[in-house]
Subunit: 422 residues, 2 copies
Amino acid sequence: MQSTATIDPVLASRFDEARAASRVLGTRPTAVKDAALGAIADALLAHEPAILAANEQDIAAGRANGLGDGLLDRLTLTSQRVAALADAVRDVVRLEDPVGESVRGRRLPNGIRIEQVRVPLGVVGAIYEARPNVTVDIAALAIKSGNAVVLRGGSAAEHTNHVLVGVLREGLGAAGLPEGAVQIVDDFGRDGARAMMHARGRIDVLIPRGSAGLIETVVSESTVPVIETGAGVVHMFLDESAPLERAVELVHNAKVQRPSVCNALETVLVHRSAADRLLPAVLDRLLAAGVTVRGDEAVQAVRPEVLPATDDDYATEHMALEISARVVDDLDQALEHIDRFSTRHTEAIVTEDLASAERFLAEVDAAAVMVNTSTRFTDGGEFGFGAEVGISTQKLHARGPMGLPELTSTKWLVRGDGQVRG
Amino acid sequence: MQSTATIDPVLASRFDEARAASRVLGTRPTAVKDAALGAIADALLAHEPAILAANEQDIAAGRANGLGDGLLDRLTLTSQRVAALADAVRDVVRLEDPVGESVRGRRLPNGIRIEQVRVPLGVVGAIYEARPNVTVDIAALAIKSGNAVVLRGGSAAEHTNHVLVGVLREGLGAAGLPEGAVQIVDDFGRDGARAMMHARGRIDVLIPRGSAGLIETVVSESTVPVIETGAGVVHMFLDESAPLERAVELVHNAKVQRPSVCNALETVLVHRSAADRLLPAVLDRLLAAGVTVRGDEAVQAVRPEVLPATDDDYATEHMALEISARVVDDLDQALEHIDRFSTRHTEAIVTEDLASAERFLAEVDAAAVMVNTSTRFTDGGEFGFGAEVGISTQKLHARGPMGLPELTSTKWLVRGDGQVRG
């Protein structure tokens, strides 16, 4: 069903162009799509000066507009980062093409043969903010999986994205694929995003990447199916049996190694029986790394630097060097806390007790449930998927890190020789 | 994220009860869930008199309210149909439990073991109209797959559904499972459906089953993820090489065998070179079965009974003994017509030409694409899935007939021994 909502004719024609291109891309063999990706990687390196110049413009505008340091860092491209983008595209070339994969099949008792095969979704929409690398990552994954993309990358990266889209199209054209497979609507500002959210029948799926606010807006407003990504209020529970050094290192790594991402730790829960043994060293390591710690009274009693924690703190994804901490009576109370505050992204337990580990794995409801590892491993690259479309925190279609198969649908091929139903 | 929309507290408590029950069901072994299903089948037979008495009330009210024959037929239960419902529940017992199935897994280079396993979705909402069999079918599939259900079955079947929900709960209780796993909101009328559509975070997925209008309302209004089911504007293309008898039988079976369902044929397209050879017998067989035929001029010229067809006719799912027919120049024009009017449910070609068959399979974008069979085979039962949740016409999560695995999500279990990310 195509939505009957009115839409700007220029935007409609871009969406239609993407749809037409998707029909071509959807039937082209892997070798042709790989050739386009190779050409895109080459073009990224060849056009580095233009990319960096456009990026300078965006950075200058961002500084003038008072963009925060975190956003400025995400916005910034360097020679190294452009090379990394080209490498990421070449990594996608090496990934297996999911299109045409036979998922399952059988011969029915009446002789009909049914086979479910992977097909592209069609047109994938991405709405994100100030991360030009997403422009290239998502387009490369979409092209490999036979999809067209409509991008809305946010005004902060408008100049950079404009140049990157040109590079993507140059690569498509070089391989004889339709350049219309990559569309961008940044020039329409918020209206572009709004049109995408109401382009039911024109866009097959929307992937928002960014702040919780952005995702919530897309989820509430969109009539196009959405894959919810991102927000991670991530917990680590230090069980009674957690070894001291392991607990200290895992909490530190999960919080500090890259605090601005969704799989970074936000709350550490400590078993009351292990609090005296574990908390001093855990807190000292965090405080030494410059982390602001907020905790309940039991945690505050351990170190004077610990500020009081509220329920709001427990519900917050800080994306910064800030952490909440709480002492819980037992595994049950840890599970209750997680159930209440989790965004169902990644949850971890540190334990040496088999029963605790298995209960945690079975009962915690999240995209990734971990035993004795840093939560930073919930990642398409770490999982071996190559570049990542995002980390789905919803339960439908895809859950957890999304790679190429998550950008496909299926269809049933049914072959008979005249069977009728009785 | 849980929606902040206000909700009637009685409805909220039913949704919460379903959520709490889903946590229990989600971790119970197959044997316990099967025991509940067995008890439900027994209870259906034991309570047949009460079920039929309630159904009589609904039928009488339906007649008084001028319900159409098709709806009255779907609403009606008989002793035989109740027995068939019980049999359908026992069929679900025999199906494999998808929960816990390991979908994929590997050991990462750093020694971490990742494994993706199937888990229940949680709370499944179903919105449907005047089909009490759906109440039992969906609840049985949900229970087997570890999900709770919230049902909105429509005022026309309110008395029947009330008794059926009692039977379902009795079966759950007999097996020691929480009766709250089956909730119904029929007593809230349209407000019940509306609350379900805004119960984001409380209901994990909504499945609308019924008219195109019902589905469109749910799709547009719901902030809960929806699996779109149903509407089928189904085509059959008779290629130049289609054998006469096969073409006649397949068109007749696809249209006439059960015209009120979504996989029934709505439009027959005939290759111009084969029109003189095929159309007279195809039309005669349809007309003899009482089918109203609307066609373009070429079809009208064959038999005087053929009425003129408009684009509206080509876009209509009749669900009755009515069909549209059109002569097309070639396979390309057939593909164009299908692309324009298809609801992407089921599309078929009748041909003896290998290249035509393969092109049709590759290029038609639909949940099921068929060669030389009746379109009536797009069906969970026929595909071997047991009872059917519906036929998804969307591309995300599930496409085509949905069985038990389509009522599950996955989660990643991640086991390490202290790995940190560098």
